[in-house]
């Protein structure tokens, strides 16, 4: 999805061989009226969401027909394009702005290295976790940078439209993402997509013979059938409580013990309860937590929200991209909007993860964060920043007035120790006239700027 879009900013010179889907319906210019802008933005975002829906359905179809190789190849290719071309673009832009005297040979070698290792991080299943995570973040950043070049109203409309699309695609029974998740879970496969995988929660060192079967680490599984850890109240109960409806329950508890001995590796897949946030490359993002129905997750969910077939929380790259777009847009106003937006998004993500633990099914990761982020940004831009500016201006003014009043009061008092005696108020040492001046100034200022909404 990101590869298809090269946003065309009408303020800059147009490049004939670059088209844009996000602005395909309407190119916003600053001279249009508000109503036109709104209409155009809505049409743009609808077109974009339509394209995304179609793409996601194609993805579901491909996954259904098990064209996994093609999908993986496509992922690697898009990672290469993003890292090589978009990353190179931005690097060139920076080099030009700072007139960095790098020569083309060095630049090409460095860029080539960066891009190829990034593709390997996507393809190769077991790269170092930090490297993979770093590259995912960089890819998300680069795509988001290009998205922020869309016109403003289109961006906001797009974000809201995508949040709604995400909600629909994940929760509605016919939604493409829900189909994808169910397919993947029924086949017990991973969705071939660009996802950011958080480091698995590691409570015990794992026998490497079972390591590749389970990046799943279950706390207390090595401690046998009865004695779990103290924090999990469930685990002290009998095993059948926490080995629920997954079928064929007999002998399950022995599996627990056996797993603890590290011998029986095939037992582990049955105990796997994927709790993952998955997402495709597109913005149809969702936070996915699917229970294989093998264990009651109450205790585990609190402890290890990061349990899954690969034992980790996965957040789709589309989520990353649109969070970053939101923050990028906020950054175009002021620093304070960035902080407000960032905090709002993190809060949204936290809420989503809590809901994930609660509902234990696929959840969309976009809506809550984008809602909070948009409100936070608007609030910061239109209320907090003017308020903060007014406040700091008032503070400066008051200090200035106090200084003047003090200067006027000084000749009356003569010696310096006459005022500011112990326990006296700051205005205590002033003459009556000085104090009156100060109060007058305060009253005036308060009248001039009524601070409602404080």
């Amino acid at each position: 999805m990101g590869r298809l879009l090269e946003p065309q900013n009408p303020q800059h010179r147009l490049s004939p061989n670059i088209t844009t889907i996000a602005s395909i319906v309407y190119n916003e210019t600053s001279s249009d009226s508000i109503w036109d802008k709104l209409k155009g933005a809505l049409l743009n975002s609808l077109a974009f969401v339509a394209v995304i829906t179609v793409t996601t359905f194609i993805l579901v179809l491909l996954f259904y027909f098990r064209c996994t190789k093609f999908l993986k190849f496509y992922m690697g290719f898009s990672a290469f394009v993003v890292l090589g071309f978009m990353g190179g673009e931005i690097a060139l832009f920076l080099i030009r702005v700072f007139s960095f005297p790098i020569d083309c040979v060095t630049f090409v070698v460095i860029l080539f290295n960066f891009a190829v290792v990034g593709v390997l991080a996507v393809f190769v299943p077991k790269m170092p976790i930090l490297v993979t995570q770093g590259y995912m973040v960089v890819i998300g950043m680069l795509v988001a940078y290009w998205f922020t070049m869309l016109p403003e109203w289109t961006t906001w409309a797009l974000l809201v439209a995508l949040a709604l699309y995400d909600l629909a695609a994940v929760l509605l029974p016919g939604g493409p993402l829900r189909l994808l998740v169910e397919l993947a879970m029924s086949r017990d496969e991973e969705i071939p997509a660009l996802v950011y995988e958080a480091r698995p929660v590691n409570y015990h060192d794992v026998d490497p013979r079972t390591a590749n079967v389970a990046r799943t680490l279950w706390r207390g599984r090595n401690s046998g059938s009865g004695s779990g850890s103290v924090e999990i109240s469930d685990s002290n109960s009998s095993p059948e409580v926490w080995l629920s409806d997954g079928g064929g329950g007999e002998g399950r508890e022995t599996r627990v013990v056996v797993v603890g001995e590290g011998q029986n590796s095939e037992a582990l897949p049955e105990l796997l309860a994927p709790l993952v946030n998955r997402e495709l490359e597109g913005p149809g993002t969702r936070v996915d937590c699917g229970g294989e129905g093998n264990a009651s997750m109450d205790g585990w969910a609190i402890e290890g929200i990061g349990l899954g077939s690969s034992g980790a929380i996965k957040l789709g790259l589309g989520d990353f991209i649109f969070y970053s777009v939101l923050v990028g847009r906020a950054a175009m106003y002021d620093f304070m909007t960035v902080y407000a937006c960032y905090l709002a998004i993190i809060a949204g993500l936290g809420i989503t993860l809590m809901l994930l633990a609660f509902y234990r099914k696929a959840l969309p990761a976009l809506p809550v964060s984008i809602l909070l982020g948009s409100f936070g940004t608007r609030n910061a831009a239109h209320r907090q920043i003017p308020l903060a500016r007014a406040g700091s201006r008032l503070g400066r003014f008051l200090r200035h007035e106090q200084g003047r009043a003090l200067a006027r009061a000084r000749p009356r008092l003569g010696t310096s120790k006459a005022y500011f005696g112990k326990g006296e108020s700051p205005t205590g040492g002033m003459g009556k006239e000085a104090r009156k001046t100060l109060e007058h100034a305060l009253a005036n200022h308060a009248k001039a700027r009524p601070m409602d909404g404080l």
């Binding site: 090269e6 900013n9 800059h12 010179r13 490049s15 670059i18 190179g88 673009e89 060139l92 832009f93 080099i95 030009r96 007139s99 960095f100 005297p101 790098i102 020569d103 083309c104 040979v105 060095t106 630049f107 070698v109 080539f112 290295n113 960066f114 190829v116 290792v117 390997l120 077991k126 790269m127 170092p128 976790i129 930090l130 490297v131 070049m149 698995p200 590691n202 409570y203 015990h204 060192d205 794992v206 026998d207 490497p208 013979r209 390591a211 590749n212 990046r215 680490l217 090595n222 401690s223 046998g224 059938s225 009865g226 004695s227 013990v257 603890g260 001995e261 590290g262 011998q263 034992g311």
Partner: protein, 138 residues
């Protein structure tokens, strides 16, 4: 919390015999920096070998990633002789390449036109980008 040894009701178990050094009674040493969730021993060998060979395609960064990935091997070298072989060579390759590339880049940047003459202007990246219109996208 014990490391992957016998725990609780598990009884006596044999832990991963491969990486466990009998002289070290504590936790087993994992070849990768990811520790227990990383690669197993045989996989590590094949990964190290493949990264080393691929690095010859002008990919010193891959060698660096190789060294980073198998950092425990560099630290506890007697435990993994075969992996150590590849990782050390990757480290050497990365160092050599970096020195060469770095010295070239520094010469280019610091020497500038005084050293290279008019060729400098043709080689420097922002001019090359302008010439090929690479920055013309926005």
């Amino acid at each position: 919390m014990e490391s992957g040894q016998s725990i609780g009701g598990g009884g006596a178990e044999s832990t991963t015999g491969i990486v466990h050094r009998s002289s070290v009674p504590r936790r087993p040493i994992w070849p990768t920096i990811d520790g227990p969730i990383g690669l197993s021993d045989e996989e590590s060998l094949s990964y190290a070998r493949r990264f080393f060979k691929f690095g010859f395609l002008l990919l010193p960064w891959l060698w660096a990633v190789n060294c980073f990935y198998f950092w425990p091997v560099l630290r506890h070298s007697p435990a993994f002789p075969r992996i150590h072989h590849y990782v050390v060579r990757s480290a050497i390759g990365f160092a050599v390449f970096t020195v060469l590339l770095g010295s070239w880049a520094l010469t280019f940047a610091i020497g500038g036109e005084r050293l290279f003459g008019p060729v400098w202007k043709q080689l420097v990246m922002y001019n090359v980008a302008e010439k090929f219109g690479l920055t013309g996208w926005y």
